[in-house]
Symmetry: C2
Subunit: 290 residues, 2 copies
């Protein structure tokens, strides 16, 4: 489905954290498409909230439905992270004191279930849910080597092992990234996110005195097997490259077709400058071997 | 095999980090068994090094073999961690500058391979390798509920999911512990160790304002499937309980028969005091379901 194929009417953006919601909004604006933004408090950043048609708490499900029913969008998209960053959601949830039990229940069920419930709710009410592949396909990683550095044989082995690991983790509600060095898993991403995982790797790697980049290794990132690719795609950007370089990592491999590369020109330029490879890998064929 | 069944002659302790080597040495001393301690620099603590018959770098394989050949032990045991804590090993390795390439190769292969190579080397040279089950079985977790707190239904579900996760991670060279809350994996242990993983969980949990322990959840810890139970068993102790409590965790489940409980009396007392459950779980039957 492309923008042109969607019938007349507004597109509703349910906006979480990061740059993605703004990028989607900008692209819709550039294509002359009417759109409405529902920003989630505690996730959507200030710039987005100032452009939003509504700002709601993530758990204000009735409010979100009321917005959609008022806007009658021809399509809905969930853009940006709603993975809990820590304080903000708790504080937000706290504001709905009468709902403590409900909050605790949603909380316990995990992000995956939260997202699945959101998708079901949107579709049950007759709205069409679109993903980045529909609205901004140019943001998705391709199966290609970006930039001018390439993985060596060790790097290729680490990439294979890394995606096998992520495949095995797919049934569990956990991050979609890991760092490998040789046959060793140095870190698996939890709710702290990629940047903080890389900070941890940098901390572990720090004191190696006998080379500047002590160990090499690779960051792998991609969606889960069987994940609904319309929501919650993993993303990298220029900051990911800088943090990976600080962690002494030799390169980054992302699952093609299922990972967002934000600000591609700058991301590739940073990788070139810092000596990291950046590769989009088709993980579907190897997925069964994990 | 028990101490009494081992023939006459000294037992050699190849000693890494933590309290375990001293506990084993004390037990051998109490049983009137002659023993020799080879302490690994950068791992074994000061108290142990002062009692050691030899102190060597972890990668000084020739030196270690020379010790064994001089002592002619009737049995050898590897006690204490040799998982790389960061700086110390790199510094140690650095001292052998002529061996950079060899070091890099050992490094890249990961800890599992390092341990397997050590076990093979000891056995190839005709020495009998004994584990904690042989030398100090009272240190191993039993299948029982310790202390006076018990997991509720949610806790039992988290324990099951947690050991299923660890089972799936077994083929990879990665830590042997994880924290789960509801259906969500909050952290998987990497080379940073359990205490630092728990600090990370505490950081994530910190600002939840609507209860004192914001989310509950469980720490699971155990050896890998198929792991040689004579070496590198996971361990918990009083500090683990304190750190788990700080992370807002409701309890700890360890794999019975494959996890060391250090200072059991104090560990259980801390769990009781802080309101955590501590349970030894038989993970073998459930292992195939992961």
């Amino acid at each position: 489905m492309t923008l042109a194929e969607i019938g007349a009417g507004p597109v509703a953006i349910l906006a979480g954290s990061g740059q993605l919601p703004l990028l989607v909004a900008d692209r819709l604006a550039a294509a002359g498409r009417e759109h409405r933004i529902l920003a989630f408090r505690g996730f959507a950043d200030r710039a987005l909230r100032s452009r939003a048609d509504a700002v709601l708490g993530l758990l204000d499900i009735r409010g979100a439905i009321a917005c959609l029913d008022a806007w009658r969008p021809v399509a809905v998209t969930l853009a940006g992270g709603v993975r809990r960053p820590g304080a903000s959601v708790a504080l937000d949830a706290f504001s709905l004191v009468r709902n403590r039990r409900e909050i605790a229940a949603v909380w316990a069920r995990g992000d995956d279930n939260l997202l699945r419930a959101a998708v079901a709710l949107i579709e049950e009410r007759g709205y069409r849910l679109l993903g980045i592949a529909d609205l901004a396909p140019e943001l998705l990683a391709e199966e290609t080597l970006y930039g001018r550095h390439a993985p060596d044989a060790a790097g290729r082995a680490e990439i294979g092992l890394g995606f096998a690991l992520l495949a095995r983790l797919s049934p569990f509600d956990i991050g979609q990234a890991a760092v490998l060095r040789g046959e060793r898993v140095v870190a698996i991403e939890g709710p702290e996110g990629t940047d903080r995982m890389l900070a941890r790797v940098a901390e572990i790697a720090k004191p190696g005195p006998f080379r500047r980049r002590p160990f090499g290794g690779v960051l792998v990132k991609g969606p889960k097997l069987g994940q609904d690719l319309r929501v919650d795609l993993p993303a990298i950007g220029p900051r990911t490259i800088v943090n990976a370089a600080r962690a002494g990592i030799a390169g980054i491999a992302v699952a093609s077709g299922g990972t967002i590369v934000l600000d591609r020109a700058r991301t590739v330029a940073e990788a070139d400058r810092l000596g990291l490879f950046l590769i989009g890998t088709d993980t579907r064929q190897g997925a069964g071997t994990g």
